[in-house]
Amino acid sequence: MRRVVIYGLPVFLMLAGCVSVKNTPPAAEPAPVTAPAPLAPTPQNPPVPASAAQTAEPTAPSAAPPPVTAPATPSPAPARKSQAKPKNVAKTQVTPAPAAPQKTATQQTPTAPSAPATTAAPSRPAAPTLDLAALEQRLRDTRAIGVFTKLSLKNQVDDLLDRFRQFHRRQTPPTLDQLRQQYDLLLLKVLSLLQDGDPSLAQAISSSRSAIWNVLTDPQKFQQI
């Protein structure tokens, strides 16, 4: 029995201490204990964002609302969050400098909207990507259309390029609207020939439609072809 008491008493005391820590946050007693710690480093703002930042770490998506409410009601916000997870409060007391995570957390909220903007930016130019050489090589290599058809298409592409040269020389007969119609018609022919036999190539050409047109209508880009 003595051995049980000797070993059991410390264990009981440790458990009791843990239970008391868990109970302290909801009660008013732990608040004064935590109060001196935040008061030492910074007077008012640091303690509030510290708890907000630490609570924001587990719940990243809900991090945006806490910083807004933090300056208005500093004490109630940490109290509710500390009730949810008192262990974090203990950790906050141990950590001496919560100011750094606060700034990062507050800075993360503005950077969060900027991050999707940067990701959206590359996705937009991805659509009009154009690699004329690769498309030409794929057209040469595809088995979806025969040799006569390829040669006939090449003749018509060359004819259209000649008309664009005339247009860039300021010759009036081919207007831009006429060129656009001929370009659309030729592209429609190519797509109709490829859509069954080589749908991936047809999709690639279709997605590059506007980019190719931009190259053809720009005199400087057209000369580089």
């Binding site: 025969g146 006569f148 058809t149 006939s152 003749n155 018509q156």
Partner: protein, 83 residues
């Protein structure tokens, strides 16, 4: 099976395979000619018969009865003429 029978069966199989490949090539050529004729703005729903006149020179008969001369001229252009 005697060796002669095996040889005859092998020859028949080879002949049938050759005929199949030839018909496949004809079908591909017919599609190519039909697409070429259509690209030139002429009507041909399907090529039912094609005759090779020379290098890059064919005569195509379409299902609707139209006959076309499809060839590549000296400048490298595909020409389709209605016969």
């Amino acid at each position: 099976m005697t060796p002669r029978t095996l040889y005859a069966v092998a020859c028949a199989a080879a002949a049938s395979m050759g005929g199949y490949s030839a018909s496949a090539e004809d079908a591909a050529m017919g599609k190519d000619l039909a697409a070429t004729i259509a690209l030139q703005g002429m009507t041909c729903d399907k090529v039912v018969e094609s005759k090779r006149n020379g290098d890059s020179d064919y005569t195509a008969v379409c299902k609707d009865g139209n006959r076309y001369h499809v060839f590549v001229d000296a400048k490298g252009r595909v020409v389709v003429k209605k016969l």
